[in-house]
Symmetry: C2
Subunit: 448 residues, 2 copies
């Protein structure tokens, strides 16, 4: 069953055996067959309508507001100093997966991270797991549903949860302070175990849902025997914009979401708020970023009976235009100090836009990257199970997400209509730089 | 709260009251404000990359294999002798909803069907429920999340389940023979109540998921007090092709799905197998079609461990090319009689392609219109909850779907890897012809 030339393609590699190559120490597992394919395409970027983030500096190349020409062919480079999918202009579809590691063998875990890197390098070029379909009497290397579809600007971003840093893999001393559990956050009492946490996460984003599904499915498949799927989420529509050329999408409450988001081409803001730098207590995360995800259920039916005026008061913005209630248009600066004839602030003291603003949070900002979702109906309530799968990236969740969420979770007017029901925090290490490298290599190979 | 000019926009119209207009008898509820808007755009078709079905004849206009220019602006005419969304070239996204009627007032039910028609006419032009956002102290007329998005070739197709024809609305004598319950169908023992049946169905298809979500959400909202959501399903990717210019998509098993589907421009086949004609025992269905939906869960993890050779034997086709195992390429005719060196049929006697073929079913064909889906993880098993949301249209489900499914449900090799877990049968009446008309008007207004 084991074909040494295609180790990354094994759906269920034997835990040990003569044909199993050693991954560590340069023998570069996941390499051989797979990496040959990946290397052939390395550095070649097909026609694309969205520029890849410049992975060398954290500064994306300038974003042209160009009309999409061929979304299917568009590619984002996988290899680079930083992981793609963070400052990359946000694609239209998401599949997010959380996995728990079942092996207790650190080498095996690293082999998985190498397989994943080799697979992601190929998927982001629109290629299947292997150029070969496989042998007739063995499972196909690739599950096949994305054949002929193209890369659709796929990015694959991998992160490590705090739970990975226990005594299983000798990583206890390598938990960054920034990844330590957030502790009690107001509003978190509604979190559900079955949508929360996980040792590893995969964020797959692309402009086609079948492409993101294919990437996650095959990566989960490649994890068999090493890690298992804990929970997953499919997202659609962008719920926030990260590129200067992108218009601001709307969330399922009908409001523009992401007007004041960090734009990927705002180099200074990206450096200050998104990328981990030399200051980190764990140098393996230097050049990485922390992902916080929250599955935020919206009480759609209740929201839909709320008055327009109240909806706008809750957000602090006009629903249609996105302009702040203090006037102007969408991107007009908000005048938080303005009072109305009644002497009350025009932007309510507990409005979402005020509580989440940098002004209310000591200047703190987040790079948001959320998606709308619907899971059909809640079997318990019969209500629409829909909302926002909120994702944000930052340098330090304790200093950023937690600060903002503590405020929102306490007094946000929006809380009447939402509930945080899942999510987690993951450390996304620096990028995979070339064939043979793997996600988080420094975590496993350097002394802290 | 009630604004007589915008009756279709009322999220929760009062069950009775002085401001409520009478719908029947020409006072055309749902008309006034809404229909003014709809009528203004009636007949005007914006630039479109997919032709609308020719609703006068059941013959779609010829399908150009043209490159998509502006998917957002593309529109499919809503008004016509036949409902769009049946022979319309298949769009990329689906939201399907099943509702149960809660009122026992036949007039109120018709008012809902009028509101829906007026809303669908606007949504399919990329317009919100109303040109007005609504009054400040009332809920917004439209939920807003599709503002600025465009129509994305949206079609809205409505159907009636057999359960509607009980004694609630005086429709017991109008149940078409073709809509009578299918009875026992092999393989249906795995159907789940919470994904099955419903008095009404809405099939919304478009090239954008937020557009289909918006359409269904607002229609369900407009049903408040009259009908409630029973179950819903979001689908992605096309799982079968209906237009001659369309390439064959793949299902989540990685196989091309729909190679032998009826093409929308095959006028003879469409007339023979899709549209109900004069022969019907219920003339209100003349010009309509019967929708059968099946939520088919795939055992993804098991499938992914199956050998390529076995997978191809199950389907009777090559996985990558889609060519029949008897040779040629995707569209080569299948030689069901060919035997191999061992004397056995090359196309297995229980292969999916054989059992579902017209040759095995007395020449019967179906117009398939399925979508892939994933609901994340099954909470009971931890496995990926994904598969095919199969939709097909036909003249008579007893003579078509049931015949084929009886064969498939009994001995299809694929049954090891799939389970039918939901679905239903709905009668989709002829189209809404103009402002003031409503879904199924003849059902309610003509004597049988």
């Amino acid at each position: 069953m084991t074909t040494p030339d295609e180790p990354g393609t094994q759906p269920a590699p034997p835990a040990s055996g003569p044909s199993r190559r050693r991954f560590l120490g340069g023998a570069a597992l996941g390499a051989a067959g797979l990496v040959g394919g990946a290397a052939a395409g390395y550095g070649i970027r097909a026609t694309q309508d969205r520029p890849a983030a410049d992975t060398d500096s954290g500064e994306p190349s300038s974003v042209a507001g160009a009309v999409s020409v061929d979304k299917a062919a568009a590619q984002v480079d996988f290899y680079g100093e930083r992981q793609a999918g963070i400052t990359t202009p946000q694609q239209e579809r998401l599949m997010f997966a959380s996995l728990d590691v079942t092996t207790t063998d650190a080498d095996e875990l690293q082999r998985l991270l190498g397989r994943w890197a080799a697979m992601a390098a190929r998927f982001t070029q629109g290629k299947p797991v292997s150029d070969s379909p496989g042998k007739p009497l063995a499972p196909p290397f690739d599950t096949g549903e994305a054949e002929d579809l193209g890369a659709y600007s796929l990015t694959v971003t991998v992160g490590f949860g705090a739970s990975l840093f226990d005594d299983r893999f000798g990583l206890a001393g390598k938990l960054p302070a920034a990844l330590k559990p957030l502790g009690t956050v107001p509003g978190d009492t509604t979190m559900r175990e079955n949508f929360t946490g996980g040792d590893l996460c995969i964020q797959a984003c692309a402009d086609d849902p079948q492409v993101v599904f294919h990437a996650v499915r095959n990566m989960v498949r490649a994890a068999r025997g090493t890690a298992t799927l804990r929970w997953s989420q499919l997202g659609f529509g962008r719920a926030s914009a990260t590129g200067a050329g992108q218009t601001t999408p709307r969330n399922l409450m009908g409001f523009k979401d992401g007007t004041n988001n960090i734009h990927a081409d705002d180099t200074a803001a990206v450096q200050e708020f998104v990328w981990v730098g030399d200051e980190t207590d764990q140098q393996w995360m230097n050049g990485g970023s922390y992902l916080v995800a929250r599955k935020i259920r919206m009480e759609i039916e209740s929201w839909d009976t709320d008055d327009l005026e109240d909806q706008e008061k809750i957000f602090g913005r006009e629903k249609s235009s996105g302009a702040p209630l203090t006037g102007g248009e969408e991107f007009t600066a908000i005048d938080f100090n303005r009072t109305g004839d009644d002497g009350e602030p025009v932007i309510d003291i507990n409005s979402h836009v005020r509580l989440s603003s940098p002004e209310a949070n000591g200047g703190v900002r987040l790079l948001r990257r959320g998606y709308n979702y619907t899971d059909g109906q809640d079997p318990d309530t019969g209500k629409l199970a829909a909302g926002l799968f909120f994702i944000c990236y930052q340098r330090d969740p304790h200093a950023q997400f937690k600060v903002v969420q503590a405020r929102l979770g306490s007094t946000d007017l929006l809380n009447e209509y939402i509930a945080h029901i899942g999510g987690g925090v993951w450390a996304c290490p620096p990028g995979v730089t070339a064939a043979g490298d793997w996600f988080g290599k420094r975590l496993f190979t350097e002394n802290s």
